[in-house]
């Protein structure tokens, strides 16, 4: 096989191609309802399994454990807790970000799962695992039914 060390792939004879495809991903039955609640009512909902009692957040259409259809929706409020977090210093290409971005996994009480989101109004060195946080929503007229209708989570008062 070729033993020369290649550091610049453009030196190899090659053909440039691309896979140009765009996709339209439906939010789904549970996803549409979940994001609509955020858009219309600024509230984070979970779905409870009537057989196992497990509350899923984000809500699912079905229970992973017992396959029951999930029909009971519960308002989880807008407060959660930082389960784990990371401070991103680079983008996809490895370039330094102007400002580091804090991403966290946020859990909601006893609910199963959680949401990944950004943290705001807090410095990286002030974040801690277990920290109570609260969702900050965009103004109603700017909300589009997307997870980014929540701007970020901030330390709860």
């Amino acid at each position: 096989m070729s033993l020369e060390k290649i550091t610049d792939p453009r030196r190899m004879r090659h053909w440039l191609g691309h896979m140009e495809t765009d996709y339209r991903y439906t939010l789904g039955i549970a996803g549409e309802r979940f994001l609509n609640e955020i858009k219309e009512n600024a509230r984070i909902m979970g779905a409870r399994c009537k057989r196992c009692g497990v509350i899923y957040v984000p809500p699912k259409m079905y229970c992973e454990e017992c396959f029951e259809k999930l029909e009971e929706w519960i308002d989880l409020g807008t407060r959660g807790e930082v389960y784990t977090y990371t401070i991103a210093y680079v983008d996809m290409d490895g370039n330094r970000l102007a400002e580091p971005v804090i991403y966290a996994l946020i859990t909601f009480g006893d609910a199963y799962g959680g949401l990944i989101h950004k943290l705001g109004e807090v410095k990286p060195e002030e974040v801690w695992i277990g920290m109570p946080v609260e969702a900050v929503f965009k103004p109603p007229q700017e909300r589009k039914g997307s997870i980014t209708d929540i701007k970020y989570f901030k330390p709860a008062q």
């Binding site: 190899m12 389960y83 991103a88 990944i116």
Partner: protein, 388 residues
């Protein structure tokens, strides 16, 4: 007895792992396959079935990558299938080869794993963006590294593990790789080098991560009767296990990979292993990040939860320690062409058990080894137990 027939590995082949290789994916598959057949003293005509393992089509940029690679894997006019379970593919593919032979349907099976990640530019990280939840994660600008950083941080928090302890894994594996002829990132580095390397997404730093690579690996599997005819040194596949957790990775506790434990328990039960740390002589857990080796040692029940960093500090996991972990140099040192990287680990255990690992040979005449890979969205575990 599990399966109708006992299955052995009788030959292994591995290409160089490099950031950019000139060979096409097919050519890489051919190089590894030919080497494995030569090692087994067999011809392509001796092969009755072929299983190909290769990760997302988006890396090579070839849709129907299984079909594309078929001739390089010697599959023309043979029963052939591609299997794919993300990063778990490299160990899962030999498992799929195992059931081809164990079922009694075939006496031989050529198992080939290939990845050519350099096709995707500027960086194959772009091919990873579509693995995340399109509705709830991608709009936030998810990257692979910060997802791992969340898991690593939770693991550190749960057991009060320091970055210095985790960095020792990178130091050990890159050093082990100095003795591997195929290695891409072998180096003599220190814990300080790791801690001073660029912070990407805290706590993940540049030297905590394995590289992206091109490469291929292959194994020849044979039924007991054939194996005994072609070699005096068969290595038996005595345990197989695999398991998947929920696709919503936020539904897991992150500090411990239950799905790896379930896969390990399945494989150990089949192999009759009751006390893994005592009965296993060496292990090749999946180490795309340094903390993952520790995570997976715990999932493989090689130590108690949270104990792996201590064993690493004490030198237990060194090549000449009581329980050598990643004597090959792992993904951190040898490289990480996804599917081929997992299969490289199975090749390593095969060579170690045959006493053919050269400068990498672990002392003590090892008889039992385990290899494990992990993948999909941090949810898949595949485990194989080999014995001589």
């Amino acid at each position: 007895m599990f399966g109708k027939k006992r299955v052995a590995i009788v030959g292994a082949g591995l290409t160089l792992f490099r950031r950019n290789l000139k060979e096409t994916g097919k050519e890489l598959a051919y190089e590894a396959s030919k080497m494995a057949l030569d090692a087994a003293g067999m011809e392509l005509s001796d092969i009755q079935s072929v299983v190909m393992g290769t990760a997302p089509d988006a890396f090579d940029g070839v849709h129907m990558k299984g079909e594309y690679l078929a001739d390089g894997a010697g599959a023309r006019n043979k029963p052939y299938v591609r299997v794919y379970v993300g990063g778990g593919t490299g160990v899962f593919t030999p498992l799929a080869g195992w059931w081809h032979v164990a079922s009694g349907q075939f006496d031989t099976c050529l198992v080939v794993c290939e990845e050519k990640m350099s096709s995707c530019f500027p960086h194959p990280a772009y091919a990873f963006t579509t693995i995340f939840d399109n509705i709830l994660a991608r709009p936030l600008g998810t990257t692979l590294i910060w997802i791992f950083a969340l898991e690593m941080h939770r693991y550190m928090h749960k057991h009060n593990i320091k970055k210095e302890q985790i960095a020792r894994v990178a130091v050990k594996n890159k050093r082990n790789a100095l003795d591997h002829p195929c290695a891409q990132l072998a180096a003599n580095i220190t814990v300080e080098d790791v801690l001073n390397s660029e912070i990407m997404c805290w706590p993940v730093q540049r030297l905590d991560i394995s590289p992206t690579s091109d490469g291929a690996a292959a194994l020849v599997l044979a039924s007991e009767d054939v194996a005994k005819k072609v070699t005096d040194n068969p290595v038996w596949i005595d345990g197989v296990g695999w398991c998947i957790d929920s696709t919503i990775w936020t539904n897991r506790d992150l500090y411990y990979p239950d799905y790896v434990e379930y896969a390990a328990r399945m494989a150990y039960k089949m192999a009759g292993i009751k006390n893994p740390p005592k009965e296993i002589d060496l292990a090749e857990p999946y180490d795309p990040f340094d903390y993952k080796e520790l995570h997976h040692m715990e999932g493989l029940l090689l130590c108690r939860k949270g104990e792996a960093p201590k064993l690493t500090e004490e030198g237990v996991t060194a090549r000449d320690g009581d329980l050598p972990i990643c004597p090959s140099g792992g993904l951190l040192g040898v490289g990480n062409p996804i599917a081929a990287a997992g299969a490289m680990k199975v090749c390593e255990v095969f060579w170690q058990l045959r006493g053919e690992a050269g400068k990498r040979q672990v002392p003590g005449d090892p008889r039992t080894g385990v290899a494990q890979a992990w993948g999909d969205l941090m949810q898949y575990g595949s485990v194989i137990v080999l014995r001589r």
